[in-house]
């Protein structure tokens, strides 16, 4: 089984040919076999460049939010993190999901560092490196993936599972999904269940480990830890630029807003805290902030930790349901009858 997946390519071909979409955004082969970059595809030849190996170097939802053509219908080949990002962006009025045809890939993690030329597929408990199946080495995964609880892109229109054999099983989650599959002449599988217990167990284990480690620290120690991490910052704004939830044109962090003092490297700690306040309640744990930080600050660990805590309190899961609004920005009917200063 190689880097390219025939079923997914056929789905994309079908969407384009049937005119369901004007273009498709996916990760694809760039200059060489090992070069993987985002690509907007309209040409059937370019469809052949789409890759499905376990490597996901930026948020496609972010690229959509920043650069898309607003009057086009766009298809995307995404993993659950990006599918959830699309839902969150739609909630925030940044796009209309009606115009997007999401082809989701079931994902059990992607690698942190891409060993040049190697083809790596990550499965629930195994990994396939250049065709050879081995037990999964969780150390090669992106840290956020180890904590991830959402392998299945249920919020995408179509969900594809790539088996170890290379066989690809496809389900439609929505009416649009059915249209996509019929355009590609792919039979729709009903009632297929994917076993996510191993993934959830892994997520719990790593969350306990990484967040537990932080919780067990004395608060002064924890504070010291985060301050020393923030002090590595070179104010490249990469985290903000990479985050799919950050779309403000007039960003709080910019020097014109007069909040964060200019001419300071590392910037005030308020730089990171501000972003945490703004996106903490909805962090998708996509890990792109951490992936693009030149100074290896474990940003995703902090933001995901806050999100998990808030998720419990507000009973809110980010990116799953377009009608559930972000907890800090919206009140519910229940709020109106609670008398106290706390929400419990």
């Amino acid at each position: 089984m190689g880097k390219y997946n025939e079923v997914i390519r056929n789905i994309v071909r079908g969407m384009l040919r049937a005119g369901l979409v004007d273009e498709v955004l996916a990760f694809a082969r760039g200059l060489t076999e090992s070069d993987i970059i985002p690509l907007f595809i309209t040409d059937q030849q370019d469809v052949d460049r789409i890759v499905t190996i376990s490597y996901y170097p930026s948020s496609l939802a972010k690229l959509i939010a920043e650069y898309r053509d607003k009057d086009k219908k766009i298809g995307m080949v995404v993993r659950s993190c990006d599918a959830r990002a699309m839902v969150e962006l739609a909630k925030r009025q940044q796009l209309n999901l009606e115009n997007f045809y999401l082809v989701g890939i079931e994902c059990y993690g992607v690698v942190k560092n891409r060993d040049k030329g190697h083809e790596i597929y990550i499965f629930s408990k195994e990994m396939k490196i250049d065709g050879e199946l081995k037990p999964l080495d969780e150390g090669i995964l992106s840290p956020n993936c180890r904590r991830c609880e959402y392998p299945i892109p249920t919020m995408a229109d179509v969900s594809c599972r790539i088996e170890q054999s290379g066989e690809t099983l496809v389900t439609a989650n929505t009416e649009k999904g059915r249209k996509i599959l019929s355009a590609a002449n792919i039979p729709i599988e009903e009632g297929r269940q994917s076993d996510v217990t191993a993934m959830k167990e892994r997520a719990a284990r790593w969350q306990d480990r990484e967040f537990g480690e932080l919780r067990e620290m004395e608060s002064k120690e924890r504070l010291s830890y985060w301050l020393s991490q923030f002090d590595k910052c070179i104010k490249c704004y990469g985290c903000r630029n990479a985050c799919p939830l950050c779309y403000c044109e007039d960003c709080y962090l910019g020097p014109e807003r007069l909040l964060i003092q200019r001419e300071e490297i590392p910037p005030q700690r308020l730089f990171h805290i501000t972003r945490l306040v703004h996106v903490g309640d909805s962090c998708l744990n996509c890990g792109q902030c951490e992936a693009t930080c030149p100074m290896e600050i474990p940003i995703s660990k902090l933001y995901h930790m806050l999100y998990k805590e808030l998720s419990g309190i507000f009973q809110y899961e980010s990116g799953l349901d377009i009608d559930t609004l972000p907890p800090v920005s919206a009140i519910t009917d229940e709020d109106l009858v609670k008398p106290g200063v706390d929400l419990d």
Binding site: L31, L63, T292
Partner: protein, 661 residues
Amino acid sequence: MTKFVPTICPYCGAGCGMLLVVKDGTVVGTRPWPEQPISQGKLCIKGWQAHEFIYHEDRLKKPLIKEGDSFKEVSWERAIKFVAQRLGEIRDKSGPDSLAFLSSARCTNEENYLLQKFARAVIGTNNVDHCARLCHASTVAGLVAAFGSGAMTNSISDIEEADCIFIIGSDTMSQHPLIARMVMIAKEKGAKIILADPRRVNGMMKYILDNGLENKAFISERTEDFEKLKEVLHSLSLDEVEKITGVAKGEIEKAALLYAQAKEGCIIYAMGITQHTTGTDNVLSMANLAMLTGNIGRPGTGVNPLRGQNNVQGACDLGALPNVLPGYQAVTDDDIRMVIAKVWGVAELPSHVGLTVVEMMNAALEGKVKAMYIMGENPMVSDPDISHVEEGLNNLDFLVVQDIFPTETARLADVVLPAASWAEKEGTFTGTDRRVQLIRKAVEPLWESRPDWEIICELAKEMKAGEGFSFSSVNQIFEEMRKVTPQYAGISFTRLGQPGGLQWPCPKEDYPGTPILHGKVFTRGRGKFHPIIYRKPAESPTDEFPFILTTGRVMSQWHTRSMTGRSPALNAEFPEGFVEINPEDARKLGVSDADSVEVSSRRGKIQTKARVTDKVAPGVIFMPFHFAEQAANRLTNPALDPIAKIPELKVCAAAVRPLMK
């Protein structure tokens, strides 16, 4: 339709890769390029905002000819004709050496190659230089003498394998952030980092020698002239070093021990070493230290100058220097000249060494140089002693400036030619670790601008020398280039079509490139030790000028700000010039933070804002050189290093006085 075009960053010499986002023919953003080995999916703030300046309304749109006090827009035809005519006239009347050329460390390799070819083959002069003279000329001179090759010995990626990194004279975090990242990764793996001031190195070496920590095997097998160095170090005392440098003996000893005992010791340096009248000596000291401990030729070791500009390495490699032809081949070598003349189709090439940047300005003032052609450089902000530069340039009979923006230098020109930016053309850049990489055209040249290489070819044609300049593609230029540049001989555009390009030397087409130099032997055979003795800077503090003024950079601005000054996000982070002054000194002068002050030196005076901070030691003041309105270079000293001719931009004597509010 939106495209992601892979290219290389136009700012620093790290050579990070990026994807330019092009929407319907307009560059709208920049994104990281995950596979590119230097940036690895990350960028600094300049990289993330690299696209911001491209469409600024200040972009030079049409050729301009000066009439009286203002510029008039003219056609390309007229501009080229005029320039060709004037250059020809001056060459014929006053001789080829009455013309001087400043090439650009920001233009591509092909463009640098063509400009030096033009100067030598069409005009007949070796008066071609560029801003490397102001930053790493001492590196080139020093490392050539010590190792045989004047370039960074290792690759950026193997810095993370060092277990001891000695950083000296480099504010790596601000200037080469993605290289600082490698240092940080090494540190998180347990490496020890030593940060130092240029004057302490002899002290370190003495300690190493006195304690038998030198790598005797390496010294005997791979070096020569060790005895000469030993003599100098022998007569040195660490107490003396402590006095000169102001660093405690104990600290020097600790640093020496760490470096000498490291398995993989790596030296990283930049302007703090090179921009001195002793710049070449300082570089030679680095080489000495590395050879003393055998820290050469392996991953994680080496002597690593961090080249500033995106293509300063390439500009040097391709011969935009007065003493060498492409490939660092001496102009004085008759055989080399003959070979290259043949390839270029000319009878002969000029044989005596030409003028360097500061010498050109002096010669202009004296009337010896009558015409200058300046491509992509802004000496009116970047050169030392700006008033002197201004006088020199104003004294010329003819000045042509070819640039993308109307710089401070362009305003003095007789003809201004609009060039295309890096996003509007093809070509190659060579990064600080000798990495040759392709830049790709994202959009067509804006307005009536043209790629620099096209302009040079047009000019050559107009001067009846078109045969050597009839290139219809950048690839063709590269193919000719590599015929005469041994280090690039095995590189081709096809081979460069991969993230990360190729590192020279690459002598043959099946050769994979060279990540690490001097692996088994030095380029010159044996590494040569040079005995170095401390010399004071040209200017020391006096009663009238009691401060040492040192200059440097800030994170979000790049050099003379022609691009970053026109990038809103970058400019907003550091919008104005300032002078950093120690709280003790500020108190004595009655200066508070943000006060207006006048900073003066023997060369001139400027007004700027004070920043009271303990980042500078008492007796020292620091100014970033980027800001034309608060131009630090009005004050700096054009005193030159005798070998490299690099000016002492890092030290001069200055005075500060508060201005009335």
